[in-house]
């Protein structure tokens, strides 16, 4: 996983790579949570362009991050997905 933070826009872009299943989702989750809590971005973009496999664990991961981000910043919809 790669990330890029744009300070002026408070925009965090997380580029996921490889395969997302139950096995890898746990590691990705830890990394993503760490970056989100470190930067506290206003907007988070998940870039799935380099993901070549994803199952329901990936959906669970996204829903979980969405819940987390809305808890950190209430009333903001700030997750975007790019494929």
């Amino acid at each position: 996983m790669d990330w890029k933070y744009e300070k002026e826009d408070k925009l965090l872009t997380l580029t996921l790579t490889g395969e997302i299943d139950h096995h890898t989702a746990e590691k990705i989750r830890r990394k993503v949570d760490y970056e989100i809590q470190r930067y506290m971005p206003k907007k988070t973009i998940f870039d799935f362009a380099y993901v070549n496999f994803m199952d329901s664990a990936g959906i669970g991961l996204l829903i979980g991050r969405y819940k987390m981000v809305t808890m950190l910043r209430r009333n903001t919809r700030n997750i975007k997905c790019k494929t």
Binding site: D55, S56, G60
Partner: protein
């Protein structure tokens, strides 16, 4: 199901999450002899991944057990049987509902059976509480009839 089986393979592995990728890639490699499209192959891989993940997370709940896969090719169709000897499913109808998960704390999406059902042509779930679960999925590979 009295159709002639053209080819068959059996796979048995421990219920460790690191085997999920192994299982779906092996099944996809076996299915590739039917000359499927990339999309059909991705459908098979995702469905297998869901079923194997279910066995690991729900049936064995972190304990180590065996997950068994039997793949058969029958008249241009791939039939995949995934079974475990875990705790079984109490109510299959509830388990099949989209977004239903018995483990919301694990950030599961509850889409496993929905994905298997929509990505494959046929899905059969047999389960006995305390004894285990067997999932049978079938997918027609169109190209094989060309």
């Amino acid at each position: 199901m009295n159709n002639v089986c053209e080819n068959e393979m059996k796979l048995e592995f421990l219920s460790k999450s690191s085997n999920e990728a192994f299982a779906r890639i092996t099944v996809a490699a076996f299915a590739s002899q039917l000359d499927p499209t990339i999309e059909e192959l991705a459908d098979i891989k995702t469905a297998v991944s869901e079923a194997v993940t279910n066995s690991i997370i729900h049936a064995y709940e972190g304990k180590v057990g065996l997950v068994k896969i039997v793949c058969q090719i029958i008249e241009g169709c791939i039939q995949i049987e995934i079974s475990d000897t875990g705790k079984g499913i109490e109510d299959i109808e509830i388990a099949k509902q989209p977004l239903y998960t018995s483990k919301p704390d694990l950030e599961r999406s509850g889409m496993g059976f929905t994905i298997m059902e929509s990505f494959m042509d046929e899905l059969k779930i047999e389960s006995i509480v305390g004894l285990g679960t067997k999932i049978t999925m079938k997918k027609n590979i169109k190209k094989a009839f060309d």
